[in-house]
Symmetry: C2
Subunit: 712 residues, 2 copies
Amino acid sequence: MSVRATQSLSHVIFDNLARLIQPRSVMIVGASTTMGTLGHTTVQNLLEHSDFEGEVFLVNPRGGQWQERPLYKTVGDVPEQAIDVALLLVPAESALTTLKACVDKGVRYAIVFTGGFAELGEQGREVEQEMLALAKRSGMRLYGPNCAGMTRLAPRLGLTFSTEFRNDGRNNLLSRIGLVTQGGGLGRSLMQGNERGVCFSHWFSTGNELDLDNADFIHWLAQDPQTDIICTVIEGIKDGARFVAAAKAASLAGKPLIALKVGRSDFGKKAAQSHTASLAGDDVVNDAVFAQYGVIRVDDLDEMLDVASLLSRVGVQRLQRLCVYSSSGGAGVLSADKVGEAGLTMACLAPATVAEMAKYAPSYAALTNPVDLTTKALVDPELARNCLLPLFNDPAVDAVLYPITSNYSASTESMVRNMLEVAKQGAKAFIPVWMSSRRGPAHDLLVAEGFAPVYSLRNAMLALKRINGYAARAAHKNDNRTESARLPEQMPLVSLPCNETQAKALLLHYGIRSPQETLAATAEAAAAQAKAIGFPVALKLVANGVLHKSDIGGVRLNLGNEMQVREAFNQIMVNARQHNVAAAGIGGVLVSEMINDGVEMLIGIHRDAVFGPILSIGSGGVWVEVEADVARCHLPADRAVLERVLDSTRVARRLASHRGMPARDRSALLDAAQRLAALFLNLDERVQSLEVNPLVVLNEGSGVVALDAVIE
Amino acid sequence: MSVRATQSLSHVIFDNLARLIQPRSVMIVGASTTMGTLGHTTVQNLLEHSDFEGEVFLVNPRGGQWQERPLYKTVGDVPEQAIDVALLLVPAESALTTLKACVDKGVRYAIVFTGGFAELGEQGREVEQEMLALAKRSGMRLYGPNCAGMTRLAPRLGLTFSTEFRNDGRNNLLSRIGLVTQGGGLGRSLMQGNERGVCFSHWFSTGNELDLDNADFIHWLAQDPQTDIICTVIEGIKDGARFVAAAKAASLAGKPLIALKVGRSDFGKKAAQSHTASLAGDDVVNDAVFAQYGVIRVDDLDEMLDVASLLSRVGVQRLQRLCVYSSSGGAGVLSADKVGEAGLTMACLAPATVAEMAKYAPSYAALTNPVDLTTKALVDPELARNCLLPLFNDPAVDAVLYPITSNYSASTESMVRNMLEVAKQGAKAFIPVWMSSRRGPAHDLLVAEGFAPVYSLRNAMLALKRINGYAARAAHKNDNRTESARLPEQMPLVSLPCNETQAKALLLHYGIRSPQETLAATAEAAAAQAKAIGFPVALKLVANGVLHKSDIGGVRLNLGNEMQVREAFNQIMVNARQHNVAAAGIGGVLVSEMINDGVEMLIGIHRDAVFGPILSIGSGGVWVEVEADVARCHLPADRAVLERVLDSTRVARRLASHRGMPARDRSALLDAAQRLAALFLNLDERVQSLEVNPLVVLNEGSGVVALDAVIE
């Protein structure tokens, strides 16, 4: 079963994109000599604002000239075959014709800026399908449509119509971070992060992703020697397997992949569907898949900038023990709060560190952690430097958090300047937090020296949380081998619909038992069978089409004698009639052994439209929705992944021994999860879901019992 | 019992502070003619940067002159009696002497800037106590010590040594918001909020709060006609009753009180103790008290600025139905996500609204909510204005959220200018979110026109959450009447220690029953008594000093016959011996009726050092710590408050009927909470806590049963 999934992943093939990202020749179709038009800006970006040394061909139906350069009237007129990249700024209605001409010209990659396709409805979707068919036939790859193009900053190459390209990367603060977004607006916002010292070296805005998609560019950045970190804004994932393969490539290359997935709430999903043609997907599944493959999920643009910038400065490491260093006592206390709330630790400073600081600090300064140098640090900037150095040398300190609450102009600037002298030499993480609404030279100095500040303690802690989570996961990476021992060789046949009895037989084949039970057609038979099983027993209606039996009074528990069983049987039949259950569909009533002692769990597996099989595990029983205590992972998943997922639920703690209550059979629960995963992966693809609830986890050594199972 | 509490609150008396905040005369002790000293800046602040028309007296031991003004050598030399305010910039060691001279001079308020007292240790605390005794004796009130003083901006009056005072409020954007902080650093940071359009009209930095404390200034601002909103940063609350009284005064005046409590995590508490002399308190109690009295609790400085600024613009109202208005599709989707995640709603636009926008918008714009005008809005700023107007007129829209992802210089500025024309006229809440790292003229225009932007969608949603929570509470304010029906008249005597049997007798007196049970000294007696009660039964060890019986194997449940009871009795005795329970302290074993069906809750009441009696209610049983599902309130509290507190727990949902399971007796649970509150308030003050766990809530109409009770 794990073989099939591995194969499906190995089917993912990525183009190497070299001739797109480092083209030797570029053709602009829709070049314009009219200032202020997109066609004009695009030509300017390439000829005037890029350091591009390849060949450039300009096409405009009216002909004419751009400075000394001719404007060809048609693509066919261009005197060159095998052009690497064509940029299309043509109206939507002529896009297909132009693409055909590009194919004839031997164009390798066509970047279609033009919008007005799938995002506007059915007709646009049809045109897109023709464009895609053309690409598949010809081998010419498509980028877009409805996209802002590609921005590369080292060396400079702007294949984009954006008037902002000329400003990109002009502050010489280029970071080793690449960016892939679908839309242009959020991407442009992130690109303006260069004002605070986060300057992406590449930006791919992929638009409707008709052919090339974000996975292609994530994969390319994972191989790119100029890139250490990859950021992506995703509106929809069309192909889960490609995304997973790209994420794995990034992980394998040791490059953190930071993702902002938009369209996560119901409102957002609805909005995403009108904005792009992507499937916004089920967000809890995105969450699970991202966590499983080491994608750092962030929730907002500023958080993405914070995480990327801090990671690019400190690399992948755990920053658990912080030292807070400030000139305000209140800021020290507030910072210590945030450190504690984030589950981090205030470092315990060595006596030598404190003694060294005491040589310089005033007597009223606090030299324990948080270190409060008081406003003396503002009038004596040497003090800030001299006290920072011993902290950098203290091995108990992972990172120094430096909250700057207020901007006192020149004194803040000289304090920052002095501290940066130390910070630039030290190998220790130094995290300035600019908490004032007033920026100015001290702020800009931090940016210029590569110490991009975060703007609130909340954001600093969020960034540390993301980085620590990533570093912890990187320390014990999932190698995705699936323990497949103790699984049956033979795959049983499943016909749909599959009733409870059939489902339980299937479970038994995979080593998961159910309570002793027999089907009874009459009250008398039920009473006799109950006596044979032993009291107490439960009765459960068996009827086609009834999934949630307890909702219609189809379940009675803890029946202690034959009389109670007879009465319960009759009542269940009355309830079924009252809820319009067809008499013909009623198969009788199951008489079951009662399992009273154990923890009620749920294991479910369903087929997600984007990623395929997803396993859910968590708190079961009738309170599933109320507890909402379920975690998920993508299948196949090895036992270590299943264990991590289980441990992220609250109910997992109930499996341990506690206050005289026995420990439960956690190992059998994980076995059951693996067995159900194997079962599901062996089932016909028409089966959409399998749910066992409750799955009762008995005392250690006694295994688990499936009380109910639904296969649909 | 409610009478006592009301009396204790009415004992809180606040000075009216008029002669402190609007003084007629000010004396500066420690005035200096040396540039750059605190003594010099303080004089400058008063004489050069304030619009102060009262009398000013300067004191410096060396004498001399400040321009034409004499420097008196001693306080005694000042030729005036009954000075309203004295500012002290003298060394810590001469503070007490100077204060005595001030008393002789008839000074009403002394602001002691000087630090070096309680925050440094025992010696400083002693000096403080002498200062306080002097104040109590003389009637002169103290402000500080170790404080940054007082800043008033309309009219300007700086009684502070801060070099920043000269810049405060210079952008003419004064807000109707007052600020009270202990330390100067966090307060100064907030004051620099004027750079983003949040300009406090008053700032009181109260330092060590030896005499006047934050409650005095909150209370004053609650009465001040220039103030609509009060912000406070609290490091410790010394007197819970005064704080509650001030919060109630603000609530009564309809003025939101926004509090940032620092020292909330364990690290922060430790740090707060070294930074100030305040008690940082138990944070879950602070949370409960703040919620109960309508204090808006925020977690960071930027959040305080966001909430205060938005509240000052839109007033107290619920902003539930949002319309997102942008020129980026991605920003629209991301915003819709955040709206959904925050539990808010995307407004459903009226057809007329859409039709009106369609007159101006391009065909490819999205005119449903989120409204995406596309980048067309950047090149046609009229479009942004024309489409905003119908949204402002749509009654289904509570607020328009305007995410500005990128700064496109002049085009963004003219778009913002056009939209502000509409926003300034409209009565509708308009919330710009500046998401770019690049500020500039468009940003500054928002600030100048009174539409202070927030800087991330996360922050916008957080501010809306706080404001909506406050507005919802304001809509059904707790009037604090306690239903005291069905409570016993007579107060029973409690002697400590109080064992389980005594505790349960007390509960019964207050109408809370326990299971039928009798004490058995031998295994045979236990078996006989079990038979009399009826099976199944539970056995529980009764022993002095053993509080958590299940931890030592002192509890056995569900014993079904006499043999099992005998065996269990013997095992409990073995366990007790193994855990070194003194034989003399063992009173026997309780044989109890088993209560198998119900929801296990906990009700506890303890005496908090700052606020007094605090009731906790939530999920009970052995999983209390694992579930961590408990909410709290301050006592006395009426039933509506108890109900809100109960409903904030997860377990409350288990009391409702669900999937064929019966509803539980929620009303009896609330009765029990009221009864236990009444009981606790009647107990001797030596009793520190009372805990009933589990308190089993039976089916509707069947009441509750206390299975265990501890009074300590």
